[in-house]
Assembly symmetry: C2
Homo-oligomer: 314 residues x 2
DNA sequence: CGATCTTACGGGATTCGTAAACATA
DNA sequence: TATGTTTACGAATCCCGTAAGATCG
């Protein structure tokens, strides 16, 4: 025979009320049903918990001893339920997101601002790493989901397009290229070029888009900020996707949107297929979808006037 | 909807086995019934606890969080059941007995010796007080039951005869009374008498039995040991019930049984009517009934030869 | 005699196990 | 295709509430 929490609650109610009738009402039960509940508990435990006459109900010595145990059980029980309730209400939880450094620095803060204001109790872990590492973290379970430039659509992982990220020319103010109405690939190839490392998605998109063309690669750097410094110093020019442009918002630099076929970096929302998102992760996921970055693509729907103001925008 | 301990046990089994089939076997359930149990728990909590495919079962983030709460609940639950089991097995408990000082010193030790050897985990409280106080303690609930010389048969209390306690003459060796074949009340009245205090049951029995007779009361004392000292010093004689005679087992003293009508102290086993005995108390109660004192009455069934050896017996 | 707990009993909900359907590696 | 979970369904059980019975003050 089994002991249920309802029996414990009934037991506690009876120790407090010392009346079957009142305790039954408290438990929203008829008095006989309540009586049966107590009888079952006594039988299951094998001890008499109450001395009762028609006029008096009182716990036995064993009943008083059992009361403290029963209260502890119910306390833990309520705490467990409260814990679930906290998670449901997003008062507590943890979410881990992996995403490209550019997104992490430029766009994520505004998303997390809204998110953590709404759900102050949730711990957030951000992994600002390159696409490969992003996907690895999702695969291993260290991240709930990722924003990366790899279409990682494997049996294990699910990737859906999140946003596209148009490339821009970045060069010092007064550079000859700024005088052209439209910049073409061969124009760019004529000047010393600052590349990102080969592992970066920016580089991989560029290599693919410019493939036959011979570039004047002056150097490869790891960090966007370094590339910016090089360009500003007049060492070379570069092509960067819109989401990175906040790094290049300097008076001495000019940013010009490009419209080359195939040169649009795709950002994907990557998650595991077999594992559901935690409630906290689900909420952030929705926040992310509701608040996508305003990419160059979105800007390019406007006229040339808008594009000319990119310098001010970043 | 209600959450039951069976559901928690099923949940824990599934987190450990990571297979509905194996976990169901562990819970002695068919696999569909087990599946329903998990589904009910998830519905009751309002969260998905497991990500499952036909090939893989794994707790969600919420499931892992809930696991620690659930384990705590079940730990407390098991502890509560173990506590009951301990009480049932008399591995733990407490009993409080109130009884006359004479019984407490002379007879109780052998009873408690057997009792505490058998049930080493049980705490024992002994109140060695006079009959009035014994009954008070039972009435107030401070003692589980009592052995006293008052027939306290009220609506509240139940008293059953426990043993009878025949009176004996106590006098110095060589005292004139020792030369009589049979000592009668008027013989005793001829010598200085050492009385117990008026509140004692010994005194009350004596007063009732000797009523019209004029005694030579030399003094009244509280403690039996004091009375013994007085008699041994030759200050007077006394009459004492058998259960007190261990105090008077001295070479310089002689003890002679009496057979006066009405002069037999009755000891009663007193307990509350409305309150059941705790398991520990019940066990001691049975031990007490199984091991009654060997009173003078029992001895008086033997011949005079036995009686003459009383000096050696105590 | 009145208040209160226990027992009796019929209806309804829950739960179980078997069998079939379904899904995934 | 084989293994393992879910769904379907009939049967047994459990649980509840009403009503009658018992008991103590």
């Amino acid at each position: 025979m089994n002991v249920s929490t309802r029996q414990l609650q009934a037991f506690i109610a009876l120790t407090e009320q010392r009346s079957f009738t009142r305790a039954a009402a408290l438990c929203h039960l008829s008095q006989p049903a309540f009586s049966a509940l107590i009888a079952q508990l006594e039988e299951a435990l094998g001890i008499r918990l109450f001395d009762r006459s028609t006029r008096h109900v009182e716990p036995t010595a064993e009943g008083r001893e059992f009361e403290i145990s029963a209260r502890r059980v119910l306390t833990e029980f309520d705490a467990a339920l409260a814990g679930v309730s906290d998670q449901l209400a997003r008062r507590r939880g943890r979410v881990s997101i992996a995403l490209l450094p550019s997104l992490a620095a430029g766009w994520l803060p505004q998303v997390l601002q809204a998110y953590s204001t709404r759900y102050p109790g949730i711990e957030i872990e951000v992994a600002d790493v390159l696409s490969e590492a992003c996907v690895d973290r999702v695969r291993s379970g260290r991240a709930d989901f990722a924003l990366a430039a790899i279409r990682a659509d494997t049996p294990e992982l699910q990737a859906e397009p999140f946003c596209s990220d148009g490339f821009h020319l970045v060069c010092p103010a007064g550079h000859p290229l700024t005088r052209l109405a439209e910049v073409e690939p061969q124009d760019v190839a004529a000047y010393p070029f600052i590349h990102m490392a080969r592992t970066s998605s920016v580089r991989q998109y560029l290599d693919a888009a410019l493939h036959p063309l011979q570039m004047q690669t002056l150097m490869e750097v790891e960090q966007l900020a370094t590339a910016m410094g090089m360009v500003r110093a007049g060492l070379g020019i570069s092509l960067m996707p819109a989401l990175t442009l906040f790094h290049f918002a300097h008076p001495g630099l000019v940013i010009r949107p490009l419209h080359w076929a195939g040169l649009t970096r795709q950002i994907y929302l990557v998650r595991r297929r077999d594992r559901s998102l935690s409630l906290a992760a689900q909420s952030l996921y929705e926040q992310v979808l509701a608040d996508p970055p305003e990419t160059a693509n979105a800007a390019s729907t406007g006229g040339p006037a808008d594009e000319g103001e990119m310098r001010a925008a970043y």
